[in-house]
Each structure stands twice: as C-alpha cells, then as structure tokens.
Amino acid sequence: MQHGFYFDHKRCVKCHACEIACKTWNEVEIGPRWREVVKIETGTFPDVKAMNVSMACMHCGDAPCQSACPVRAITKRAEDGIVLVDQNKCIGCGFCAWACPFNAPQLSATAGKMEKCNFCQTPGKERPHGMPRACEEICPTGAILSGPMTELARIGRENAATRLGGADMRGMPALMIDAHRQFGPDGDE
C-alpha cells in the first residue's frame, strides 16, 4: 500500500520546524535539505494572497528519479511505495535531480552522494508505520500528516467536506453540483 504525506497549506505558518525536525531526527548535515518550506505570493496591493508549501520527496508512483538513475541506486519499496536511494550504489551523477520536478534529491557535498526524504527510514533510525514522521510530529499547527494514501484521501475528503459546510466557504454559493454523476466519464444518467 502506497504511503505518503498530506499537507494542509491553510494551517502551515512557514515556521520551518518541519525542516529542522527532519534534519535532527535523520542526522542530516548542513547542505542537503530533505524538506523545505516555500511561500508563494500572488495578487497586487492590497489584494494579496500567499500560500506556504512544505515540500519533500513526493515518493511518486512512477518516480522519474528512479528511471533516470544509471546505476539503479533508486528503488521504490514494494510494501509501502517509499522511494529510497541506496548510498552504496549512488555515484553522485545528479541525473535524478535533473529528472525530479520537485527538487527533492539533494547532493551531499561531503559524501558526494544523493540523498532525500526517506520517510524517516534512515538506517538505524527507522520510524515504523503508525508513528508520525519527524516533520509531522513537530508541526505546531498540525499541517502535515503521513500514512497510507487511502487513509490520507479519506482525511482530505473530510476536510473538504468540513470546509464546504463551514466557515471557510462563507460567501460561496449554497449549491453543490454532483459533477461526477452528471458530467463524469459515463455521461448523463
């Protein structure tokens, strides 16, 4: 079963605690940043909006880094879909970094090898499933969740439903169209 992250940008306040928790738990040196919070601002004064995103490896279903690696150092673990870099095989060529659309693989200047978020599976410091990842555990506002994607999808749906019924949707029309049934792949009923 694929495991992954759920990120609620509405809760993230860009405090960067997740980055430091990741570094401390996995004992990552200065340089590579397995997780990074970025802010995206849009609009013009005074109608400004901003969104914060805490980014790490997405552990993609069809991981471009895995295909790009010439020495097959990158594997997708069968039981949970976590994408891992085998440091013994990695030659530090950087192809994976070019292939990754999210800038997830990071080159260690000291080891000359690629590293990235391993879902807290650093050898000797593995967090078993069912336990929060370091980034998730530390987040002051509860913006990050981890777990099986089926579980995260359920939480995502619940959050969306809460917003539809709640305060976040104030000002929106009180009308919900069941788009899937009317305009879905099967056409009109």
């Binding site: 605690a17 980055e19 430091i20 401390t24 336990m131 530390i138 506002t141």
Partner: protein
C-alpha cells in the same frame, strides 16, 4: 498510538534517555522532552502532556541542541586587558579572580556613588532571580530590570493600567472574532499552543482580522487584512470605540459595573471628534470600513482585540495600546472564554532567603522614576546612556548585561557603544562573546539552558510551574547563574544567604508548600492548574479595583486620563520619503540564534521589503542589494519587492538580529544591522524604544 507513548518509543529508536525540561531559546519556554545519549542531546520534542506546546516544537527550539555543543561558546572567564575603545583584548582568568574583580568593583562603586549606580538588565529573566537577590536585596541597587523597553513595553503598560495585569494571555481556542494590531504571532511562532489554538479556532469559523502595514504570516492567514499606515493604530481604534458607543453596541451593564470612566470616555471621544472620517485621513483605511469593522467586532462574541509589539514601536504607542484593548472593554469581552485572559500565576517561592536586616538601602529611587517615567513597567533603556554619559538623572557606573546585547538591540548603536565605553564596570553574563561583551570589562561564561536548572512560571492560560533540568555537562568552565551569583556573594561577605550546594536545594525551597514536589516536577516537567475565567466582576488589582478606562495613574502623571491620538515623531519628507518599519522571523529569536548553522541554513540573512510601486519609483530590483539611508546612517541590505506592504514604508525583517560582528563564526558578517539608522526616540509615557521612528530613502547599491 497515544502521544504520551510516542516519546519513549522514539527514545528507544535513538538509544536515548528522556529528560523532562523546558526550552528557553525564546521567552515562551515550551516544556520539552530532551533525548540524551552519551552526554549529548540527540533529539527534542514537545512535552505532550503539557498544555503549552501540544507535543510540538518550533525551528528555533528544535535546533537549540547545537547551542550545547557550539565550539564558539565562551569557555572561561575573561578579563579585559587593554583600554576601552580599542580592539578588545581579553585574557583568561580563574573564576576566583573573576569573582574578586567584580566584588572589588562593586564595593568601590557603592562607596563612591552608591549602590544605585549599578544596573542589572537581562533578556528573559532565566534564573536572574539570583542576581536580583544579590544586587537588589543585598547590594541595595533599586535598578534591577529586564529588556521590556525593547519588547512589549507599551502592551505591558496598557495592561497594567487597564487591568492591573502584567501579561495577559490569549484564549484563541474559544474565540469567534480575533483582531490583531501589528501583531505577527504566527510569524514569530513563539507560543506554539497559541498558534495551534488560533488555527483550530479559524477552522471552526473564527474570523481573523489583521491590522498591519505589512502582509505578515499572520495577515496571510487572516480573513481580512487591513493595510493601515504605520504608527496610526491608535486613531483607528479610537474611531472604532466611538462607533461602538455612538451606536450603543457596547455592553452597558459591564461598563457600568466593572469599569471606571465610561461616560467620561464617551464624552472624550466626542469632544476630540475621533470619528471614522477623521481616522480615515490618518490611517488610509476607508471610513465605512472602520464602521463595519467596529460593528462586526461589537456584535461578535467571544471576541478579542490584541496587540503585541508593533503599535509600540512609535512614540504614540502607549495610548494606541490602550485604545486597542478598550475595544474589548467596551464590549464586555475581557477574561471570559475566547477573550484576552488575565491568567493566574502559580505559587513559586524565592530560592534564597534574605533577612530584612541584611538588605541594602538604596539612596535614590529606581531609574525609571528618577528619569520621569512613573508608568514605565521596565527601564527606559534608551535613556540609560544619559545616566552613564551625563549623570542624568544620577550617575550610573556599573552595568550587568545578562543574556542581552544592547549594542545590537537598542536603537542608536553609536550611542550605546559610547555608553559601554564609559562604564566603570561592564559585566557580561553570556554564552557568546557578543557585541556588548566586547565592550565590557569582564565576561563571565554562563551555561546554556541545556546545562542548568530553572523553575519558573509557564506561559500558558492557567497557572503553571515549569522546570528546566541540566541535561548535559557544561561547556568549558561555564557556570549557571546560581553559581555565579553565589561566587560573587561569597566575595562580598554574603555567602551565608546563598547556602545551596546542589540546585535541588534551592529548587525544593522554591516549591515548598506549593502544589508539586521537586521529585514529581522532575518526572513530569510541569505543573498546570485550573484555567479560571471571569475575574473582572470580582475586582482587579487596579487602584479602583475596576478596569480603568479613566486612568488615575495617567492623570497623576500629568497625562491624559483617557487615551488620545498624537502623531508619531518622525514623518517621511521629500528627502527621506519612506518610513522604516520592522517585523520578526519565525526561525530566529531576536539576537540569540544567529550562530546556529541549522537556522542560518533556513535563513542566513535579513532583508528589506518594499512595495512594487515604491521599488519602481526608486529603481529597486527584487533580490538585489540596496542602500537604505537615514539622516543618521546607511546600510546595505538585500531587497525583496513585494505587494504585501503599504506603499510609503519599508519593512526590515529581523532588523537587529543580523549583521553581527561578533558572537561566532556562523553569525558574523551576515545581513545588515538596522539599529544605527534611527536616532534615540523614547515613548514619553512608557519609556519604550521606538524602533520605527525613522525616515529613510533607498537606492540600488552600486555593484561591488
């Protein structure tokens, strides 16, 4: 899995033992679980049982293990070996020599100028109670202060005046409407439980309105950002008060039963003609918007109007603070669930007992009174150079700086350095050789909080006792404050009053008769009492026992008993067309975290934000270095062109935390120190430092 079990499972993975402690990287002091292996901190998490931090940590706290191993830390006492004003030269001395030196100088100063000529200041009073007993009680100086004039001095003064409370908390969890004025609490991210509570409240439908010239991290999360002109909060708040009273939206029975001076305030607002139209001209916020916000605020319950530092960075900040808080008062929204919370303090005793007959007698009143600031809740720092350099109001010859760095943190750096160089005795109690330590006569290395014990009040809604325990060995010869105070006391002949051998000896004395024993506190890390509400009808510790809309203390000091709006002191002009403002960052705390490479990796320099329209006007490009120049000085700093800032002002993010020229190898030479741009401006009422009283111009820096 319960969060309670998580810590022990994580500790097992790390092969570490857990010590319950708290973090004081910043003054919010979150209770923690520290993971220790082989005398090293290998991980930290929030103490999940404590209500303060819900098991989480911030970036600063999470990275704070580095402080316990930082090779740049001070390792032994150092005595200055050349004249002041030169590149400082220090020589290593023994603790015995250091204690003798300080004691001899203290005796000399007391003999010649009196004990009041020695001043003590500190950052967030960790363990400073020992220095206070030494220098206050025994030595007899009335001048034991902290750092509030560089912090929330105006808030503190407003809260004391109105509620008789020094530091109310925010009960965000139960709020339905929160209005924050110049308060970027999500951006600074210090009280983690407050951040979580606000986000939770928002998810449940609480409306958040942020009044701030800058689109801060908090404004980003707001339902409404009100981009007010800098230094005009008081005008908008007073106009809102007027709307609430004119439209009879106030809580009649509350203001009659629990407040002093409601009728007079209503007349005051009308006679001054504080109307929405008047405020609109000053603030740049449309009059109908001010009216709408006033109505919304008054009709929403529970509601909270809160300030922290921003409104206090101007000379008109004291009454701006009172006016913002009066919105709560008029609508009866004080100390009920979801309001500003007049928290109870936990019973904690003194660690040492100084008998009355042993106490020194100051010959003069404390400096803030002698300087003419009876309403100042702390030393008006920016007036201290007058005392040292000119003997006004009386001479100051000795200064202890504990975990504070006025050379970096006070406005008008040149004058602060000049002050330090004219001291008879400058003592730095520090963990780094800071910019201020460089100007001192003697530098005494303190342990970091990871290497020492402390028992203190928790920063949570209810009464709380929190414990910090030594988790690793001290760096070098560093000593905790309670041993340094003891060492000086012995040389002064007061050793018998500092009679402890282990920290537990004074720890037990502090907790005697209280709700928790030291053994239990060591196991749990904290004690939390019941959160109580509705103190106002029962009477408050103000002169009248009521909320003082009419302030007798203000009237007695010759000030307007009701809040008035006055214009700030420094207004931009043709030559210097922009107002300088400041805001904080989440991953750094003031001046203390810049030698941490993990935090510097996330944010290694500060920057100045400028609205795109101003950037176009002055030829500024995003990401390029610019010269920010005031009538007094100029700095080179990286520019960030933004939309989220009121045109006509610029915002330096973390202005005095960067541009270190000392402290350590990671801190030195990164970013720009903005505090020499401003002249000395002091709040005439509270004595606060007015960091934003500065006009500037900007231009691209020539390529170097």
């Amino acid at each position: 899995m319960s969060s309670k079990d998580l810590g022990s499972q994580l500790a097992a993975i790390k092969g570490a033992k857990i010590v319950k402690s708290f973090c004081y990287t910043c003054p919010w002091q979150c209770p923690t679980e520290v993971f220790v292996r082989d005398d090293k901190i290998v991980y930290q998490k929030g103490n999940p049982e404590s209500p303060n931090n819900i098991g989480s940590r911030c970036a600063k706290g999470m990275a704070s293990w580095y402080v316990s191993r930082d090779p740049d830390r001070l390792k032994y006492p150092m005595l200055r070996s050349n004249a002041k004003g030169k590149d400082p030269d220090f020589k290593r001395v023994s603790w015995d020599d250091a204690f003798n030196y300080v004691a001899d100088k203290l005796k000399f100063i007391a003999g010649k100028w009196g004990p009041e000529a020695v001043v003590f200041t500190c950052h967030h009073d960790p363990n400073t109670v020992f220095y206070r007993h030494l220098l206050g009680d025994l030595y007899g100086s009335p001048n034991n202060y902290t750092h509030t004039s560089g912090c929330e001095q105006d808030r503190r003064s407003a809260c004391l005046t109105l509620f008789g409370h020094v530091f109310p908390m925010h009960d965000f969890a139960n709020s339905r409407y929160v209005m924050l004025w110049g308060m970027n609490m999500l951006g600074a991210n210090q009280g983690l439980w407050e951040s979580r509570a606000l986000m939770d409240a928002k998810a449940k439908g609480c409306r958040l309105v942020v009044v701030d010239p800058s689109f801060t991290e908090t404004a980003q999360k707001a339902d409404e950002w009100v981009p007010i002109r800098p230094g005009t909060d008081g005008a908008m708040a007073l106009a809102m008060c007027r709307v609430i009273i004119d439209e009879r939206l106030h809580d009649e029975s509350f203001v009659n039963a629990c407040c002093e001076g409601f009728q007079g305030f209503a007349e005051h607002l009308r006679s001054k003609d504080y109307s929405p139209a008047w405020a609109s001209n000053i603030t740049g916020i449309a009059a109908d918007r001010i009216v709408r916000l006033a109505r919304e605020f008054a009709k929403s319950k529970p509601a909270m109007s809160a300030i922290f530092k921003g409104s206090g960075y101007y000379t008109n900040g004291a009454d701006a603070g009172r006016a913002c808080f009066l919105l709560n008062v008029l609508t009866g929204q004080v100390d009920k669930p979801g309001n500003l919370h007049l928290k109870d303090w936990a019973p904690i005793g003194a660690p040492v007992v100084i008998p009355e007959e042993a106490k020194g007698k100051p010959g003069k009143p404390p400096l803030h009174l002698a300087m003419g600031y009876p309403l100042a809740p702390d030393l008006p720092n920016s007036r201290l150079p007058d005392a040292v350099l000119k003997g006004e109001p009386y001479p100051v010859k000795g200064l202890f700086v504990q975990s504070t760095n006025p050379v970096m943190s006070d406005p008008n750096r040149d004058r602060v350095i000049e002050m330090m160089r004219h001291l008879e005795l400058g003592v730095a109690l520090e963990i780094y050789l800071s910019e201020t330590a460089l100007e001192c006569d003697i530098v005494l290395p303190e342990t970091s909080f990871h290497e020492q014990a402390e028992i203190r009040q928790g920063m949570w809604l209810g009464p709380e006792i929190i414990l910090c325990q030594p988790v690793v060995s001290p760096v070098g010869e560093a000593k905790p404050p309670y041993e340094i105070a003891q060492g000086i006391a012995r040389k002064m002949g007061w050793g018998q009053y500092f009679d402890y051998e282990r920290w537990e000896d004074w720890g037990e004395r502090m907790l005697a008769g209280g709700p928790i024993t030291l053994d239990e506190l060591k196991r749990k890390g904290f004690w939390a009492g019941e959160v109580k509400y509705d103190r106002v009808p029962k009477g408050l510790p103000t002169p009248s026992g009521k909320i003082e809309i009419y302030s007798k203390a203000y009237a007695d000091a010759g000030l307007s008993a009701y809040p008035v709006y006055t214009e700030r002191s420094v207004i931009p002009d043709r030559e210097y067309p922009l107002q300088l403002t400041h805001s904080k960052l989440s991953m750094h705390c003031n001046i203390v975290t810049q030698n941490n490479p993990y935090l510097m990796e996330v944010c290694g320099e500060n920057w100045v934000e400028i609205n795109s329209s101003d950037a176009a006007k002055y030829g500024i490009s995003d990401g390029e270095p610019v010269i920010v120049e005031s009538p007094k000085d100029k700095i080179v700093i990286k520019a960030k062109v933004v939309e989220g800032l009121v045109p006509g002002c610029i915002s330096v993010r973390h202005g005095h935390g960067f541009g270190h020229w000392a402290m350590g190898s990671n801190a030195k030479g990164h970013g720009a120190h903005s505090n020499n741009l401003m002249e000395t401006h002091t709040s005439p009422i509270t004595g606060a430092n007015c960091y934003n009283e500065c006009k500037v111009r900007v231009r691209p820096a020539p390529a170097s």
